[in-house]
Amino acid sequence: MSEKEVLLLTRNLTKEYELKNNFGIRKKQVVHAVSDVSLEIYKGETLSLVGESGCGKSTLGRMMMRLIEPTRGQILFEGKDITIYSEKQMRQIYKKIQLIFQDPYASLDPRMKVKDLIGEPLVTHKVYPTKEETERKVKELMHMVGIRPEFIDRYPHQFSGGQRQRIGIARALALKPKLIVCDEPVSALDVSIQSQILNLLKDLQKEFDLTYLFISHDLGVVHYISDRICVMFLGKVCEIGDTREIYQNPKHPYTRFLLDAVPNMDPEKKQKRENILAGEIPSAVNPPSGCRFCTRCPYAKEICRKEEPKLIEYEGRKAACHFPLGE
């Protein structure tokens, strides 16, 4: 693990939004979407960002591509700080980082044919000099993700959800990127289609030596696809490390509750009442001081409300908790 090459690294990455302050009548409010996230993505691995809605996982993913500008912090891609890059320089980076969206309906321009959709990155970066060559490449990509190349002249609405997601994947692959940010790529799909797409992503990763940043709230999917996971809560990293270690032996109470909340497929093993996390997700506008999880945490003590826990190294992972489980 230690010898792996770092592809992307973030240092204290933070995103804060200011809410409009109603002509100064109310106090200025700041949404802490992502706070001080430092993590690294190694070449060839799949790192998953897990968490509930509003935990900042999508914001973090987009920030790494600078589709959302970070408020503070650095992003180092292949060792270079891309936070200071100009728009023109970023365009070159976009050849190497691509994005796959959750909603295959919204992420494809409804007025473009498949040919133009998959061809768009190729045309934008002028990869091929002629139309014919671009089209040949598009057909090759379509074949690769399992869509019949005959459908090249169709519009997205003529495809089913799973096929549209395949189009999205083909488009992301067109420029032979190094890193693909997958933002909930299977959560809008049916179970039988979901497993097809997951297997496709795995096969492509092997074939093209891709690195994935996989954003999802589905813990089953995350377990299947990822090498390492990063559990987030209210814009902060709770626990990050090896998938198997974390699933078998979570250190952070939040991770434990998340895992227990997944409905078990065995009707004999009923969920226990005491394993259900009570309370609502606090708002990111005024997050609790100290540990952000302290308002929901049944183990919270005085220190949790006052002092923010740091990420501490345990076997195979880091966790941010004053009272880690099993220690």
Binding site: D103, D109, G168, E268
Partner: protein, 324 residues
């Protein structure tokens, strides 16, 4: 699925059961392929634009009829001199204010001119005034709207400019232009273009604002597509349906604005005619000789209706969803 012990997996149980009439794997694949092929052949084929237009004509009869009406109108307006023997501007005081008859299909006006002939010739001005300034003003409006919606730094400047234009009574603004530049047809185009863009800009801006948040625009940004390319490749085509409707609504507006200008004496100059001018001139005689008012109004009405229906039909053609 290995979270719990199944009594025996389905595959294992089925292998034990002796099942007759089974496929070999190859045969099954063959059968599945055939069924899939069947499904594919059923799936709707992509339509070409021509096929779409044809299906519009088949399904939307009103739109098809409107297209025919507009074509006929354009035809008779262009070939006006071949279709009527009268001179549109010839005064004949002997035959003033005659009701419709075989000689004068739509009657004559207060100076004895044949109204039918004047409608045909006036149509030339009205049609041009309807189409050209509307096109120009919409082009300006589209660019202004997209820029202010997409490039947020310019938003305030452009929108305040639009507010100024919208705050003035448009006719006053047009009059100022006409007075300064002089009353010619070209200047009518300029005047009407200058007042018309603000409304379009507002509509395009609001659409751009919602479109720029759409994921496919974000996807394009994530691919490294340039701003202007995104605007013209992704945002503009998705505004088109409402723009087409807007276009058909703006044309009658322009025709009526021209009429107003003419009425105030800064538009089309007599003895030339335009539909708007004819309507406004007929006001004095509305009760005594209603045909002077009715027939030019009818011409405007037919054209406006036909344009609206056609616009609706075309919007459905352009919209790829074509929800039926």
């Amino acid at each position: 699925m290995a979270t719990f012990e199944q009594a025996a997996s389905l595959a294992a149980r089925l292998a034990v059961d002796s099942i007759k009439d089974q496929f070999s794997p190859e045969e099954r694949l063959e059968a599945i392929k055939k069924a899939e092929e069947d499904e594919l052949n059923y799936m709707p084929r992509p339509d070409t634009l021509r096929e779409k237009l044809r299906s519009m004509c088949r399904e939307n009869k009103v739109a098809a009829a409107s297209a025919v009406v507009l074509a006929v109108m354009a035809f008779i307006i262009v070939f006006a001199d071949k279709l009527t023997s009268y001179d549109p501007n010839m005064v004949n005081l002997m035959e003033r204010l005659l009701p419709p008859s075989r000689a004068h299909w739509c009657g004559t006006d207060d100076l004895g001119r044949d109204i039918f002939t004047r409608i045909l010739y006036g149509g030339r001005v009205s049609l041009l005034v309807g189409v050209i300034p509307t096109s120009i003003s919409m082009m300006i409006g589209i660019v202004m709207g997209m820029v202010s919606g997409y490039i947020r730094q310019l938003d305030a400047v452009i929108m305040r400019l639009a507010d100024i234009v919208l705050a003035f009574p448009s006719i006053v603004l047009a009059m100022v232009v006409m007075y300064t530049l002089g009353a010619t047809t070209t200047n009518i185009f300029i005047a009407l273009s200058m007042i018309g863009w603000a409304g379009t800009a507002r509509i395009v801006r609001s659409q751009t604002l919602s479109l720029r948040e759409q994921e496919f625009v974000e996807a394009a940004r994530g691919m490294g597509v340039k701003k202007w390319t995104i605007m013209f490749r992704h945002i503009l085509p998705n505004c088109l349906p409402s723009l087409i409707v807007l276009f058909t609504l703006n044309i009658p507006d322009a025709i009526l604005s021209e009429a107003n200008l003419s009425f105030l004496g800064v538009g089309t100059q007599p003895p030339d005619s335009s539909w708007g001018l004819m309507v406004s001139q007929a006001r004095t005689y509305a009760v005594s000789s209603p045909w002077m008012l009715i027939f030019p109004s009818l011409a405007i009405l037919i054209m406006v209706l036909a344009l609206n229906f056609l616009g609706d039909g075309l919007r459905d053609v352009i919209d790829p969803h074509m929800k039926k």
